[in-house]
């Protein structure tokens, strides 16, 4: 089936979309960086968490940053509900007080239990591509399905932290955990 799709491509070219990176074949990390930004649109934070730290909306990377400059590129000039999006790199979980979204890099896999415990009381959306991240109390875990980046959601954990995940987001998640996992 050949379909002639007539689209105003010129309009697209002049305003580069941030949903995907500009390259024709984005890497796994570029896609994950985009998703981090996208999560900001589908998650609602509790009131006090969103007003903290001078109004900026922080997307933080804990550990060794796998994204390089792509995260900064994606976030530059964007805002959520009038709050500027900024990318921050932190080395300790305790520094995450100004973060709304925290990406736990693979380098932190061994300290994962401590990190998650440290964040227990804060309204931070925790995201990682560490295997079994959501099982161990992480909120969103990237998983690879073929060459596509998908994600699992631990809804129980997010709700406990006062976060509201939109139904649309849950719809596209490959798995949604609603009950506390045995053995955690």
């Amino acid at each position: 089936m050949s379909v002639a799709v007539v689209l105003p491509l010129a309009t697209l070219a002049c305003c580069p979309s941030l949903l995907y990176s500009q390259q024709s074949k984005p890497s796994q990390y570029q896609i994950e960086a985009t998703y981090l930004y996208n999560f900001s649109r589908f998650v609602a934070w509790p009131q006090q968490a969103s007003t903290a730290k001078g109004g900026a909306f922080g997307i933080c990377v804990l550990g060794t940053d796998p994204f390089g400059p792509s995260l900064d590129t994606i976030l530059s000039g964007e805002n959520v509900g009038g709050r500027m999006l900024i990318a921050r790199r932190i080395s300790k979980a305790q520094d995450a007080s100004g973060c709304q979204i925290l990406f736990v890099a693979a380098s932190e896999e061994t300290r994962l239990g401590d990190i998650l415990q440290a964040l227990d009381d804060s309204s931070v959306l925790t995201v990682s591509d560490i295997p079994e991240f959501s099982k161990h109390g992480g909120m969103i875990q990237f998983v690879m399905a073929g060459d596509k980046v998908r994600f699992e959601v631990n809804l129980k954990k997010a709700s406990d932290a006062g976060l509201t995940l939109s139904a649309d987001l849950l719809k596209v998640a490959v798995a949604v955990r609603r009950d506390p996992q045995p053995g955690t």
């Binding site: 379909v3 007539v6 979309s17 941030l18 949903l19 996208n38 649109r41 998908r150």
Partner: protein, 475 residues
């Protein structure tokens, strides 16, 4: 009750009302349907746009998280609507992302061009509407959705309209028939009565007919009144005319009677003195025969000739007035036999002459035999008389075709007459020849003329000096 033929004014009015109503209804229905078609089509587009927007916004998460399966499930929801043929979601780059097809062999149509500054476009194609809508995420274009829907709903609607319109048309026309039956009578009845009255007037000559005038005002009432007035006038003038004709006829009859009795008595009373003159002239001649000089004898003979001529004149005058007064008794008359009888009488009177008679058998006419005998006496007698100066003569009585019937004629080769005087031939006392040349009183042809006219025929003549004459007559 007035008669009502199928082409009467009442049924014409009904038919006209039907036609006008039908045209008005059809036009009105067409207008409504056309308006509804356009507005319903727009409604369908608006409806489809809403569905597309809904499906689009439900696909935003799938688009931004590259989850084609989720988008497939979203567009598959179009399966609920039996009118949606196909739907497809494209990503921001215009690549197909998720597709729904009602039937497997359905084709995805080309996407309508979305104008700059707009986020939607649609077009109608082959009875389908194809609509494209931009999927926005946070004010950014994150994809497109295309939906194709058939127009079955509009076809159904139009069919329903057609049925309703047909029923309404039938019902309305039925109502129109009833209404115009009653309403039409107000116009039709006076006209029908007028026509009826006019027919009676023209057929029965009954001018006393009057049409009942209607209570309403207007052209019809005016027409009826005028018609009645005209009849009134005709009736009056008719009566007046009749009265005048009767008066004139009475006067004429009286005058004619007077004239006839006058001429009869004059002719009759003139005979007595004539007889005296002739008788005493004869006595003179016989008694004084030897004493009279030759000159005196000549005078007496001339007196006697003149009185005898005057006697003949009086006889002819009496004949003429008898011809005018005599009653006609019409019957089949054998003209051939009658002519032969006249001819043989003429020959008996003067057998010395050499005359060839040509009278074919079988000529007949319908008329009064006594009067027709006078006609033949005169015409054949004239022919006999005016050929007397010739050594040899030929006289023919025959008939020929004339104006679809027959004209009889008497033809001779005698003295003839000057055609310039043809008009004077049939007047009384008109003579074209001197008395010394041919004897006669000049009343014969006038008598013929009168008899033929009384039979409703015509008489005319043809001739030239010394070339003979032909007298024609029709009956």
């Amino acid at each position: 009750m007035v008669r009502r033929p199928s082409n009467s004014i009442a049924s014409k009015l009904t038919r006209m009302n039907l036609l006008v109503s039908a045209i008005a209804l059809v036009l009105a229905c067409s207008g409504f349907v056309a308006y509804d078609f356009v507005s319903f089509r727009l409604n369908i587009v608006r409806d489809l746009s809403m569905q597309a927007q809904l499906a689009g916004s439900n696909s935003v998460a799938a688009l931004v998280f590259d989850d084609a399966d989720s988008a497939d499930r979203t567009v598959a929801a179009f399966g609920v609507s039996r009118n949606v043929l196909a739907s497809r979601i494209y990503d921001a780059k215009g690549q197909p992302f998720a597709t729904y097809l009602r039937d497997r062999d359905e084709k995805i149509p080309a996407m309508p061009q979305i104008a700059a500054g707009k986020d939607e476009a649609y077009r109608f194609e082959g009875g389908h509407v194809i609509l494209a809508h931009t999927i926005l995420f946070e004010g950014k274009r994150s994809g497109y959705i295309l939906v194709e829907q058939d127009m079955e709903r509009i076809v159904e609607r139009m069919e329903n309209y057609g049925e309703i319109a047909a029923v309404m048309l039938g019902f309305s026309l039925l109502v129109v028939v009833f209404v115009s039956r009653f309403a039409g009578r107000a116009i039709a009845n006076p006209v029908v009565e007028l026509a009826d009255a006019a027919r009676r007037v023209s057929k029965d000559k009954d001018y006393s007919v009057r049409v009942n005038s209607t209570n309403e005002e207007g052209e019809l009432a005016l027409l009826v009144d005028t018609f009645n007035q005209m009849l009134e006038q005709i009736q009056q003038s008719h009566q007046e005319l009749e009265k005048r004709v009767q008066e004139r006829t009475a006067q004429l009859v009286a005058a004619n009677k007077e004239l006839e009795s006058f001429s009869y008595s004059v002719s009759h009373d003139l005979r007595a003195p004539l007889r005296s003159i002739d008788g005493f002239s004869l006595a003179l001649e016989e008694d004084l025969g030897d004493h009279l000089t030759a000159q005196a004898k000549n005078y007496i003979q001339r007196v006697r000739a003149a009185t005898q001529r005057m006697g003949m004149l009086i006889d002819d005058l009496l004949n003429l007035s008898r011809v005018t007064r005599a009653e006609m008794r019409k019957e089949r008359v054998d003209l051939s036999g009658m002519a032969k009888a006249v001819a043989s009488e003429l020959v008996r009177a003067d057998g010395e002459r050499n005359v060839e008679w040509v009278i074919p058998d079988g000529m007949e006419a319908y008329g009064d035999s006594r009067l027709l005998r006078i006609v033949l006496d005169n015409l054949l007698g004239n022919a006999w008389k005016y050929t007397s100066k010739h050594d040899h003569a030929r006289i023919e009585f025959s008939q020929e075709r004339h104006n679809g019937g027959y004209a009889f004629y008497v033809k001779d080769d005698g003295a003839g007459f000057d055609p310039a005087y043809t008009q004077r031939l049939f007047g009384a006392f008109q003579r074209l020849h001197g008395i010394t040349e041919f004897s006669g009183t000049g009343i014969g042809l006038a008598t013929v003329h009168r008899i033929i006219h009384r039979h409703g025929g015509e008489v005319w003549a043809d001739g030239a000096v010394e070339k003979g004459a032909t007298f024609y007559f029709t009956i």
